[in-house]
Symmetry: D3
Subunit: 164 residues, 6 copies
């Protein structure tokens, strides 16, 4: 029965803000999995640049019309949220070598905590491979335009945030 | 239409011989993709330990009964074979950090050659993470038992090959 | 004279808290060196999860009965403490690649500061290789059981600390 | 009983030829372990620059007078030879990051094959950290002097070998 | 026209304080480029050990007499400052592997922001390769002498700062 | 006297064949150094895809008109050739992390062999970062077009070579 094989993939990240790299990985994931949960990982102890609600807005502006995508936020362990949503896959975008070690460790721990979930690593397009949210904020702070690296609406929010 | 979303994943490797690490990745892939093509990559310039036919036999012994798995061999570029088989996903198992750099490079090249295919990286279980085909052959040559790392039938073939 | 060859090994770490990985390295070190000094590295500028005294208690609960082990705390440079204790060996457990670069740098500096001391790197068992103190605290905070990764007494203390 | 704690360390390498880096690690090991077995790993399938006998000669020239050192050769698995010699420690010198990944993998496999043996990693002095046997041969082939990197007797043998 | 080929190189760093490693890279850069701008990168959000003015003093004490060197400070993006100064080259000293990943990412971003500038990576002498400003401060705090790693005047300032 | 500061840079590589990545690094080097020596490193023990003469032809086709570039071949140690040509700089293009370790080691050895020469590392454009000569040959062998990655004349030669 093919329905039983429908695969839900969870893509958890801080998305503070979402970059073209994130969006690219999400779109690629949507090509190969049946459903995609874009989940803002909320860290109560660390204040971000944008609130969870703002991050959700930015993600919804990109994926709100896509019926196979759910945009949401979560606290707690990623594996627990994966289980709650029935996700058999956790997607991690790896930008460059430095990311991988940490990801590797987390994937092994997650596999131990929840046998039924698989972590799969995906690469963004080469042009986004060296772009991170924190670098983008730095650029905006120094008056640079970042529309090349984020959606126009995100660029606008970054400018507003850092010109204040 | 759900049929259009059926995802075929190609898992290309030399499988010379298949190890528990390979089989573990294949089984995990089968949990999250609709169909799996296990493909022995044939390299005409480099003679392996086992012939393509032997490698196919060993894979079929493990997956021959599984209707969603195809066991086959191919020459040429992986992306060309992916396209031929209608695979939207290329699976690569990463054993440890050292593998990743090469894989990364190949994935980017493949994306450039064939935009519609995604390479996804999966981890074997931790217990298989440091086990390679070449190390296993070394163990067998020195009289060690390797049933812990490969299926019993593969262990038998390895013993036969290296006791000759 | 065999006495003159007795080798004292210093195993310095923050042990905040000690994990099974730490204990595993310590037990292995005890198999190959004559005496072992387990030393809680006290960092006055950074408050940990547990006090030095609590960390010492947790270590003593595991090694208090072993006559060849001393459990202690120190401030200052590791090499100075090694010299003070007559330790010819500094043991460092390396969990994964990411640790090694930093360790490498520190070992070279230590060799320069104190020629007579050798840093040796040891691996924990594979099952503890991807387990860190900070990850464990995260698990406990989200209600997970960590008895698989630390002694029962340590798990209890972690639960008490993070349920407060 | 102190005798039961005598620790034999095995330092296996191809030593083709021994460099100052090898000798440095060996001397450091001798400071912290009771006995040291310097063992030329013989690979029947790969012809080296020097014969096993020549390599043993070069090692004996350096350590022949040291009663706590045995210079020998072996074929087969390192762990089997460690067991045969009663060595509880396998020493590996790590020259730079690139070595470590392979060593890591081998150490984990060795631990699995023979629980009682520990692999410890040691660093050569910083000045020898970027010196390898193969690079030295290249230098000699192009007429460079390498006495800075190997004992005088080894330099002489290298010159003889490559001027022929 | 040879003047048009005069190459200005910018060496930006926090220099908090300058170490022998920094000075070594700067002197090497001066051998191969026509002019050198040593630029203290001022980070308003993070208080350093020394003020910008103190860092400039320490650099001037070393390079003040050299007509081809300018010692200065800047805020903002390195590429913007490079453009302002007419620098076609940004020099980065890489101490060890760990630095490189971050540097790589920054160099690619900089190339994207300002096509005319090239980032070149240079190595300090092997003896300074494992020496960082932060490690040196740690040594001084614990009463160690660091004159081996920094100019005497810098060592004096470090002692004054940390004995207060 | 500005003439005395003219900097000659040596860019040694096997160039078998030259790729757009090589050419890109060479052009960037020409922006920042006064003269550039493009030098085919001849390895008598290893037969390449193209002869030295063919590689020189391919380089000359790209740089033959540029008065500040010399295209040549050499045997022996790079530092010896640098000295012979009066080059104060050796340029190495680093494609990705994996290259760097080896380059690092070679640069340190070269600095030891010839104090007056500096190795500088440069990055190719991001689009060429994951392209290697060996991968390109593989593509051509399987009938792929590689004009995206090499000059048209090089692509033609590759096709001729591998269709034979």
């Amino acid at each position: 029965m093919i329905e039983s094989r429908e695969t839900v993939a969870l893509f958890p990240a801080s998305f503070d803000p979402p970059t073209n790299g994130h969006l690219d990985v999400a779109r690629r994931a949507l090509q190969i999995f049946d459903r995609l949960v874009l989940a803002v990982a909320v860290n109560l102890e660390k204040q971000g640049t944008f609130t969870s609600e703002e991050r959700l807005d930015m993600l919804r502006a990109e994926f709100g019309e896509e019926p196979r995508v759910e945009v949401t936020a979560f606290q707690g362990l990623t594996v627990d949220f994966a289980r709650e949503r029935g996700a058999r896959v956790i997607i991690r975008g790896v930008r460059a070598m430095s990311d991988f070690e940490y990801e590797f460790e987390m994937a092994l721990m997650n596999k131990r905590l929840y046998q039924e979930v698989e972590t799969v690593f995906m690469l963004p397009s080469q042009e986004y491979m060296f772009v991170s949210s924190s670098r983008l904020k730095e650029l905006v702070q120094f008056g640079r335009d970042v529309e090349e690296f984020v959606p126009a609406a995100v660029a606008k929010r970054l400018r507003e945030r850092f010109s204040r």
